[in-house]
């Protein structure tokens, strides 16, 4: 077993072991143990870049891989590996899980914290598994695996209407999963294998009509997860009711399973289908951007606003993917990572605000600048990053998705690019409105955000937000940290579509 394979085993085995271990250790060490484990996972995920195999020449060239026999009857092998496309998202996952463990250990007091931590590690196991999967059936299994822990997190630790929100989340997502399974099975029957590198090579052999159907199934499945308008309606409820860590992981990572899957499984394995449906995807992505922006402009609850803003940002990512050219696809990859970081930071901020004021109603907030200037600054930073100020992470994904669309040169794509650009301006507008209402507005009579009633940023919170802010700044100034990794795979995928 090579060093790289050992890292992969740790990456999957670590969270799985932790999920079980947390349940049996005493409650007082659970927090510290989980922070230590999550830190270790983060280091391991970074270490994946070391000693990587760059010699391959196929469409999917893993840096490190494990390939074991599993279900021969389904032509399925336990094929796991990391490449440039999945690595940034694995690091993102590890980082967000680490932040969540710190949050639970030192900031927010919740009941039965061990069970929540166990669920978070189970979630990490599933999410990392999806990113590592190089076999469609393995991919599907891990995809399903993320569903139950997230249901548990929302149903167990959510707000007042948690049961309904959790049910809606799990039913919507399961509907998507069934479509995903159908697509995967169809692909298996057509191509005779479920191994992704093999499928990518044989993508040309699958009949075009079958590719169209397969891609349609996969696209709808991933569109539910991403979520793409009009299949997004589970998301605002789930976010509004979920506990802070649930929202962070849901928006930060789970949504990425959809966009990552669309690229890795959909576009790579059914390129003809992708080419056929790209304009539709682009149109839906653009509609998502604009609709989400208007909903956010009218939103009166902080958490719901942030949740809906995710729909818009994922719209940019989907627009980027739909362009099927290098600029757009690269924008989608960096957009994935930066949205994960920024929305994570936003949800932590909202969690901090709501825990202090007990409400997220915009009408009852105000004056955060005076009562908690440092928290206000962090919220401001996150909002500015989210609307895509150059120099921060959010910029690259939005700008280059629009650029990629414009590169096509046809009227349809120009229209998409222009509407997306208008949408980007609306994003600025609603975040500024949010900042005005929460941060700068004088506290009105009846507002709860009175000065010196609440505490400013605590040390635990600083520990949570600092790594995220650093990463946002890092990607903003040096997007190459993501783009260099994704460049190779994206080039291969774009060539695969062009073939």
């Amino acid at each position: 077993m090579t060093a790289g394979q050992t890292l992969l085993v740790f990456l999957l085995g670590g969270p799985a072991t932790c999920a079980l271990l947390i349940l049996v250790v005493p409650a007082r060490v659970a927090g510290r143990l989980s922070i230590a484990a999550a830190s270790a996972m983060f280091v391991v995920s970074i270490a994946l870049t070391a000693d990587r195999n760059t010699a391959g020449s196929g469409t999917i060239d893993p840096w490190h891989e494990i390939n074991l026999p599993w279900i021969a009857s389904l032509e399925s092998r336990l094929h796991l590996g990391v490449d440039g496309l999945s690595w940034p998202l694995i690091v993102l996952t590890s980082l967000l899980v680490l932040c969540c463990t710190i949050w639970l250990a030192s900031v927010e007091r919740v009941h039965n914290v061990r069970a929540l931590l166990a669920l978070i590690f189970a979630l990490q196991f599933g999410m990392v598994g999806v990113f590592l999967a190089l076999d469609t059936i393995v991919f599907f299994v891990f995809f399903e695996l993320t569903l139950v822990p997230m249901y548990g997190v929302i149903a167990g630790w959510g707000g007042a209407k948690r049961a309904a929100a959790a049910r809606k989340f799990v039913l919507y997502t399961l509907a998507g999963s069934v479509l995903l399974l159908t697509g995967v099975m169809w692909l298996l029957v057509e191509a005779g294998t479920s191994d992704m590198p093999l499928l990518a090579e044989r993508a040309g052999d699958v009949a075009r009509s079958a590719q169209l159907g397969i891609f349609a199934f996969l696209a709808v499945a991933f569109a539910v997860k991403s979520p793409l308008w009009p299949l997004h309606s589970w998301l605002p409820d789930a976010h509004t009711e979920a506990p802070t860590v649930g929202s962070v992981l849901l928006a930060g990572v789970l949504l990425k399973l959809g966009t990552y899957g669309l690229v890795r499984v959909g576009v790579t394995l059914a390129p003809q289908g992708a080419k056929h449906f790209a304009p539709v995807l682009a149109a839906l992505g653009v509609v998502a951007i604009v609709v989400a922006a208007f909903v956010c402009l009218a939103s009166d609850e902080l958490k719901r606003l942030i949740a809906y803003s995710s729909v818009g940002h994922m719209g940019f990512v989907l627009l980027g993917i739909a362009t099927l050219n290098e600029a757009g696809m690269q924008a989608a990859q960096v957009g994935n990572v930066s949205h994960g970081l920024i929305t994570g930071l936003l949800f932590f901020c909202v969690g901090a605000v709501k825990s202090r004021l007990g409400s997220g109603q915009l009408a009852s907030l105000g004056g955060l600048r005076m009562s908690a200037p440092r928290l206000a600054a962090v919220l401001g930073f996150a909002a500015i990053a989210s609307f895509g100020l150059p120099g921060l992470a959010g910029f690259w994904g939005e700008a280059f998705a629009i650029y990629g669309a414009a590169q096509h040169g046809t009227v349809w794509w120009w229209a998409a690019a222009i509407v997306a650009a208008i949408g980007a301006a609306l994003v600025v507008a609603y975040f500024l409105r949010m900042l005005r209402l929460v941060v700068t507005r004088q506290p009105t009579a009846g507002a709860v955000g009175m000065a010196d009633v609440i505490t400013d940023l605590r040390w635990g919170e600083v520990l949570v937000v600092a790594p995220l802010m650093t990463a946002i700044l890092l990607i903003g100034l040096w997007p190459g940290v993501v783009l260099d990794a994704t460049a190779g795979p994206v080039k291969q995928i774009v060539e695969g579509v062009a073939r």
Binding site: E144, V170, L171, L174, T182
Partner: protein, 573 residues
Amino acid sequence: MIVDHASLAPIYALAGALVLVLLADLALGPHARRRVETLIGIGAVGLVTTGALAIAVTGGTSRRGFCVDPETLPGEIAVGQACSLETNRYVVAVIVGACVAALLVLAYSVRHLSTVDDPLGADRQQTAQTVATGARSSNAEELVVAGRASAAGGRFGDVALGGVQEPSSPRPLATNGAMPGATSASFAGEYILLLLCSVLGLVTLASARDIITLIVAIETLTLPTYALVSLGRGARAAQGATTYFVVSVASTAIALLGAALFYVTTGALHLEWVARVLSVDSIADKPLVTISLVLLLSGLLFKLAAVPFHAWAPATYDGAPVPVTAYLATLSKVGGWLALVLVVGAAARQLDVLGPVLAVVAIATMLVGNLVALRQHRLMRLLAWSSIGQLGFALAALGAARSSGGFNDAVAASATYVALYVLISLAVFGAIIAVMPAAGGIDDLRGLARRSPVAAGVLVIGLAGLAGLPPGFAGLWAKLAVLRGVVRVGDGWPMWVLVGAIAVSVVVGLAVYLRVVAAVFTPSEVGDRVVPDRAALSAALLATVVGLVVGVYPQPLFESVTRLGCGLFSTCS
């Protein structure tokens, strides 16, 4: 006529055990110590012997018995030698599976059979062991059976909440509950006897290779269950048993009518001959042949409780003792499925007609079963409806097939589904039986997560499996196998309609099970820990562990069912 007694050994063994149970019951008398344990022990040994003999006797080879010589059927069709019974490794696999599942059902029955000899003691025990209001309602029924109607009469309001009107107690008051013949314990002998007899039908069915043997076997499987259902408590059981009896007898009549019509038109009853005569176009195209096959099929679909032949199931499940319901929902359905597969497999030539019929039935079964389950409040009714829906998935794979080659693949997919469904369902029933001896409402499970974490865990993993979600991976493979089967053997728009119906049903199914799971995790005002029934819980735990192992490494299962279809019809090349 050649009779191969060796291949009949499993059947003899089970029949022997059955007689032993009867004799032991007579010899021990109603007041013997450890009577129930002894009887269950004999039954268990009988089942183990049956399974072991099945493996030993065939030793991987194929054995045939009750064969008839080649002859020429009407229409100048020459047919070769055909046999009424065949035992090969696929049949053995079915027999062993049936015996193992029956052992689980026996384990589930322990408490049901041993509770009530001392009604006062049982009363205390029950109060300690049952969950929340389930305790009240079950005690109410328990007490009536013991003849203490006066105390229980007022409580029937609780029981009747489910919508079925309970009459006031018709039974005479007994002096002090020791009335012979009125308690479950004194029914123990009959109960085990009937259960084994029914399993005997299933074992015979697995090797039956002509339509009459098949129908006789399935009747052997069904007849004892009427009596088993009526061993339940109160009017609900009587109502369930009567519904079941009437519907089932009617369905048998229909199946027999189909068989008779088929025989009249073709002269063939052995499955091999059926396949042979149907390969002749002039016969296969006769309308009467198609009609007779559809009639036969309808009769068998009754046993499966497939829509529109399903109406008996909810009332029956709700009225029967819960372990009997577990049996009906699993093994009894396997019987119906097996008979269906055998008949359709022989008539694979007619799949262009039978296939669409099966597909329509499958779609209706999946949708109706799951949708109606959504509206149920009584646990057993919910499980009944959802098990109707579950079998719909197994039918869906069969309904997609349009050729005999495709049908073999479809049987593989369907068999994977049925095997995993039986395993998971047994785990679910086991968890419920362990904490709730009598049928109750979903709300009776409230707070189970705190009150009996192990039972709650088994139940939740099982329900997740039924919904096809992790950690119940076994269920995930079941759904996957069916979808793969449908996509593989079907084509054109009918396949997509099936896929669509499967997708909708899976989602609705999850909504059904979520209600139960939500109840398990809802805090309840009654906070006492439940002492679960040990035998049932360990059996259910075992089933869950097996399910998890299969879930992580399903290859052996997938591999063994691949050739099940051709193995059952002895067409493997």
